[in-house]
């Protein structure tokens, strides 16, 4: 009970389950994807691989927070969504008319908002306690009214401009790959704010607080249409890789497919997927190198020392709070990058699709299953869990079909079972998490 943060789940586990060699596990993983390629289609297999890569980057980010420092961040969804927002703000061309209609007021609203915060901080530092609240309250009220004064007409004007297609300010019109950096920066900013406020909480409260904050982020993204169209979604984001239709017109590609004896249409889709995979692999490799270097460095050893015995580290003069803030920001940056990559891949930003089960808790399952504290474990967890998450549905459909094959095709039981097959994956995730926690609490590739 006295331990506040315990990263390596401190449970003895049966020694009979031997640790497999990590490379062996990755080979099995590759083989599984290949099986999908042979039996379903290579397009599906590559699509799974793309998201496996993104998932493992997210898991890597969470592992930096949890595995290195024992911070329980349940706000992954929020950081991923901020990355997605970055993708929109970087790549979409600016909507000039919307800027003309409400740009000035939005800027004024932002300025007055910042001024209010500044005034509150100023007063807070100057005035003693009993009178502080008396001084701050009117500032906040006035500030709120001023912000709304500029903000409301601005929003109305911006959202009023061609609402069917725009109704938002647009972005910077830059290549979308820049958003991978900006997404990280957004996440860093948010993590700094969040970390400053809630990092001092005990682990499960940190989880609740971050979960709540991520819901706030999503609520804002859903409702502030002027920013990124809210639930009306931004679609058709520009790509960092060629479009299939264009590829099919390029001579060298047609020659290539002709030489390989493949159909140009399906080959183009596979080519595009491979391009993405190449980009994602580059990012993953770079982040893995950074993360492993950091973990092995004196900084990484200090982080783990803090995690394992916070009091002792504090007694030795380590500034635990600021170390925690550091690692919280670093992990969030990685998640933000992955979030921007995901939106880039999907080519659209849909705030409604951010749900904690998929974007927060699923990533947690990845980290726990893979092995908290081990970066390779987190990556492997990302691969395995995403694979199961996707393949659970066809497999359970097949199983249901098999199990109910003796029933009539219009039997209600059969239909109900087949309809609810998609939920099987939730059950599977719960079961996997519980089993791993019980029998393999240090994950598939345990911390060294």
């Amino acid at each position: 009970m006295s331990k506040t943060n315990v990263a390596a789940l401190d449970i003895p586990y049966p020694t009979m389950i031997k640790t497999c060699h990590p490379i062996f596990l990755f080979v099995i993983m590759g083989a599984l994807i290949a099986v999908v390629g042979f039996y379903q289609s290579w397009s599906i297999a590559l699509a799974i691989l793309q998201l496996c890569l993104i998932s493992s980057i997210m898991a890597l980010g969470v592992n930096i927070q949890w595995g290195y420092a024992g911070l329980f961040n349940a706000g992954i969804m929020g950081f991923a969504a901020l990355g997605g927002l970055a993708a929109v703000l970087v790549s979409v061309p600016p909507v000039k008319e919307a800027w003309a209609a409400g740009g000035v007021n939005i800027v004024l609203a932002a300025v007055s908002g910042l001024a209010t915060i500044g005034a509150v901080l100023f007063v807070r530092a100057r005035i003693e306690r009993p009178f502080r609240i008396l001084a701050i309250t009117p500032i906040i009220i006035i500030g709120f009214l001023v912000v709304r004064w500029f903000f409301d007409p601005a929003v109305e004007a911006i959202e009023g401009y061609n609402a069917a297609h725009y109704g938002f300010l647009g972005g910077a019109g830059l290549p979308i790959m820049f958003s991978w950096i900006l997404g990280g920066a957004f996440a860093a900013g948010a993590a700094w704010l969040v970390g400053k406020t809630v990092l001092r909480l005990r682990s499960d409260y940190l989880a609740i607080a971050t979960l709540g904050i991520s819901e706030i982020v999503i609520a804002v993204l859903k409702n502030e249409d002027w920013l990124a169209r809210g639930v009306k979604n931004v679609t058709g984001l520009p790509r960092p890789v060629p479009y299939e239709v264009n590829l099919q017109k390029v001579q060298w590609f047609l020659d290539l497919t002709a030489n390989l004896g493949a159909d140009a249409v399906s080959a183009s889709s596979i080519f595009v997927k491979i391009c993405y995979i190449f980009l994602f692999l580059l990012v993953l490799a770079a982040l893995m190198w950074l993360a492993n270097t950091a973990l092995a460095s004196p900084w990484g050893r200090m982080m783990r020392a803090i995690r394992d015995n916070r009091d002792a580290a504090e007694a030795m003069g380590k500034d635990v709070t600021s170390r925690h803030l550091q690692v919280f920001i670093l992990g969030s940056v990685v998640v933000g990058i992955a979030g921007a990559m995901l939106t880039t891949l999907e080519g659209q930003f849909t705030p409604g699709s951010y749900q904690p089960l998929r974007f927060t808790f699923l990533i947690w399952v990845m980290v726990i299953v893979g092995g908290s504290g081990n970066n390779w474990g987190a990556v492997l967890g990302g691969f395995i869990i995403w694979f199961i998450w996707i393949e659970a549905e066809p497999v359970s459909l097949w199983l249901m079909g098999f199990a109910t094959s003796s029933l009539d095709t219009d039997s209600p039981i059969r239909n109900h079972l087949i309809e609810s097959a998609p939920h099987f994956r939730l059950f599977l995730m719960g079961a996997i998490l519980l089993l791993v926690l019980r029998f393999r609490p240090r994950g598939l590739i345990p911390e060294e």
């Binding site: 909480l201 989880a207 904050i213 059950f427």
Partner: protein, 337 residues
């Protein structure tokens, strides 16, 4: 004078009554969370789904009873099915505790491990509920809908504003009062209740006094699962049942428990109402209210809404974060986090 009366009626109809009902539902859920926290010492992330599970069983039985022609009109049939929903939720909780949580208790695992485990339970319960009833919105209320409807109220009083009081709201408030009184009587007056408080206060000394922890844990699950099911059914009667909504209720319930002071039953109740009323008042459009009170020349042109209704859920998280910042022990000085 009539304007003031109209304004008051308006507030009662759109803020006070719905806030009371929602607050009572949150309070019952938050009580369970706070009890589990005091005794098992972890934040139960599966509580919203436990609520959904108990409610689901109740709904299935309600449909069966309705199909078989049973009725306790004017009361909703669901009340007849509720005890079975409670039994199912309690049984489920006890099975999960025996088969899963107890292992970690014996290991003396850190609270965060329990939270992880509760995430696993959350996934599983989520799947079971969606598997059985699907993901759609379900309504299962029957019987008399209104104690007094807006139209009736208007014709009786002759006022411009109506006051509707739904039966589900009345049921919620009455049930919550009865349950809270019973729970407090149990905790304050009975031997087992005192033992629970003692265990929550000082586990080692409780063990030395011969208090059996397994029994305390069992009773905690029984109470928490019952309260969760009742809260879930009342929420479903008042609004509707949808698995995702119930999963989302987890956060306002956590917020209520923490805002009130985690580990403090009184705090959970205060927190529940505080969260509910903040959600309702912050997102309520005061245009008509002010229209009644102010002279016509000053009548507001816009909705006079602090935040749009879409931010309803976000309000509770904002309060949660503020409380964690300003007074981490909550209103009633719960455990220091």
């Amino acid at each position: 004078m009539e304007d003031v009366l109209n304004a008051l009626i308006l507030m009662t109809n759109f803020v006070l009554v719905p806030g009371m009902a929602y607050g009572a539902q949150l309070a019952l859920g938050a009580l369970g969370i706070t009890l589990i926290f005091s005794i098992l010492r972890f934040a139960n992330f599966a509580h919203g789904d436990l609520m959904a599970f108990g409610t689901m069983i109740t709904i299935l039985l309600t449909w069966w009873l309705q199909g078989a022609g049973f009725s306790i009109a004017p009361l909703p049939t669901a009340l007849l099915a509720l005890p079975f929903g409670i039994i199912a939720a309690v049984t489920f909780s006890l099975v999960i505790d025996r088969s899963i949580y107890r292992f970690y208790r014996q290991q003396g695992a850190a609270p965060v491990v329990f939270v992880m485990v509760s995430l696993g339970v959350m996934f599983t319960l989520n799947a079971i509920v969606r598997f059985v009833v699907g993901t759609e919105d379900r309504r299962f209320i029957d019987g008399e809908r209104f104690i007094i409807s807006a139209g009736e109220f208007k014709s009786i009083t002759g006022l411009a504003e109506g006051l509707a009081f739904r039966q589900s709201q009345a049921l919620t408030v009455i049930t919550a009062i009865i349950l809270v009184v019973a729970l407090f009587w149990f905790l304050q007056k009975t031997r087992t209740g005192k033992a629970m408080r003692a265990y929550s206060d000082n586990e080692d000394l409780a063990l030395l006094s011969g208090i059996n922890p397994e029994r305390i844990v069992m009773i905690t699950w029984i109470i928490a699962a019952s309260l969760a099911t009742i809260a879930g059914v009342l929420y479903g009667l008042d609004k509707s049942f949808k698995p995702f909504t119930y999963f989302q209720l987890l956060l306002p319930m956590f917020a209520a428990a923490i805002v009130g002071g985690i580990g403090q039953p009184v705090g959970a109740i205060a927190g529940g109402f505080l969260i509910a009323f903040s959600e309702v008042t912050v997102t309520y459009a005061y245009k008509r209210f002010l229209g009644h009170l102010l002279p016509e020349s000053l009548a507001p042109g816009n909705l006079v809404q602090l935040l749009s209704t879409d931010y309803k859920f976000a309000v509770s998280f904002v309060i949660l974060v503020l409380v964690l910042l300003v007074r981490p022990t909550g209103i009633f000085r719960g455990r220091v986090l």
